[in-house]
């Protein structure tokens, strides 16, 4: 999870990732940021995120992202 937070902060440092649960709903992460995250997730965790995985449910919070990474690793 720390690694994930570090990735998110590198892409956009002005967000409280520990508490925010509306990263997509409030437009905090735009499509450029989402794809940058996907690229870093692949490099760091070896997971392939597909277009079908890009949903608000998977990207609205750091926890949701982490759950997706674990699901894709499994």
């Amino acid at each position: 999870m720390e690694k994930l937070i570090a990735i998110l902060e590198d892409i956009n440092p002005d967000v409280d990732y520990a508490n925010c649960t509306t990263l997509i709903d409030d437009g905090i992460l735009d499509s450029f940021a989402i794809l940058s995250i996907v690229s870093e997730l692949h490099d760091e965790f070896g997971v392939y995120v597909t277009p079908v995985d890009i949903t608000p449910d998977n990207f609205n919070s750091a926890q949701a992202l982490w759950d997706m990474v674990q699901r894709l690793q499994g």
Binding site: D10, D14, S31, F32, L35, S36, T50, V52
Partner: protein, 510 residues
Amino acid sequence: MSLTSFEFVIFVGAAVAGYYLIPKRFQWVWLLAFSYIYYAAASLKILFFLLFSTATTYLAGLLMDRIKEKQADREQRIKQKRRVVAAALVLNFGMLAVVKYTNFAIENINALLGSHLSFQTIILPLGISFYTFQSMGYLLDVYWEKVEAERNPFRFALFVSFFPQILQGPIGRFNRLAHQLYESHDFDWGRMERAFILILWGFFKKMVIADNAAGFVDEVFGNYGSYGGAAIVVAVLGYSVQLYGDFSGGMDVVRGIAELFGISLDENFRRPYFAVSITDFWHRWHITLGTWMKDYVFYPLSLSKMMGRFSKAAKKRFGKSIGRTLPICLANIIVFLLVGVWHGADWKFILYGLYNGLIIAFSGLMMQNYRKWKNLCHINEKAPLWKGFQIARTFLLVNISWYFDRAAGVGEAFDMMRITLTSFRLSDFWNGSLMLESVDLVALRFVIVGFGCILLFLVSLLQERGVKIREAITGRHVLIKYAVYLFLIFVLPALGQPPSAGGGFIYAQF
């Protein structure tokens, strides 16, 4: 049958009355019948294209669902489904390309090779760009197993042809729209009132603002060589008002009519001129086209194996940050090229798309630098002055794009920009040279458009602050409520251009 015509009002009235009088289980059939009557009334010939698109998409969806059920091997299943989706995409986008771009291709081949291929007479079926995108979105959703294929061909036909939206959108999504079309709806007076306000407001934007602005805009863009920079600037600003009033007004009418049947369509505009960047502008302008492109082109292209390889190479060459952003920028430019092509078969639209794509790609690449600069200059992102600056900057960039969108061609657009910069005289604003004799009642039209814009701005400002205008009006005392209705009803014929003079909707030509 134009949305602003008297026949259309009668048509909608009959559709709504019947919808709530017949047994509820037939409501969707009623909508289907009215949708096909509406489309066929325009021309029987173009019905073929709608039927072709409906039939091929329906069958492809069904076939993919069958493969999903029958084929246990995952690899084989994906392979077989891919063949079906590819065939349906080629057929539908192929048909769209033939009717929309054949003459454009001939023109360019002739120019390039010096050949003399003759132009073809091809009818552009009404709304084909919209219903093709809507049905192809459904097809890809079935392919990705986001939705189940619709088994009933008639229900599916309604999803593709629902009459309020077929000519100019919004481009609907199956998971949000289809079930609403098929469900039964009770008559709800409160909802009818809210729908009525939205329809009147849409007519106000179209007939009072857009159609009054059109005279000046058409004259200056049509004969720009006769005018100075000030007239061109006013015409471009007028076009930004006209296009927004026309398209978003049309969308309000369409969404209001759908609400009369209890159906809520996706929002297509969210106060775009309050955008703080071009990216933000595209989140607020023609939203359903933007999200369609994002979900069905931008993400799949960015996450493709080819882009993966490019990203890897770029990261090695340029470092992590630029390396991961470059492929996204490339995909973004391709998407905006497509947005340009979608708008029409002309180089000016391709340039319009490229202009937007390049600005967004450049911003994406420079993001880390912007952040450093903002920190260095101690800029408070939430300060009203900073936000005002961002809105003004975006508005200027958007208005530059309108030169390409509205001018007759690329050469004319650049020529108009040159005149704007080289022969701009501030004195033209008060010496009467903007009062064009060739535009009927030009001074009065300026006043009406100005009044309309002030009202539109105030309403938009309240909406930006979270006020739900329609609920606020319908919740007021009956006298206030009806005063608003009467104001809108009487202001339309008093200040608006009649449908015969105003012409059709700009986006209904796509």
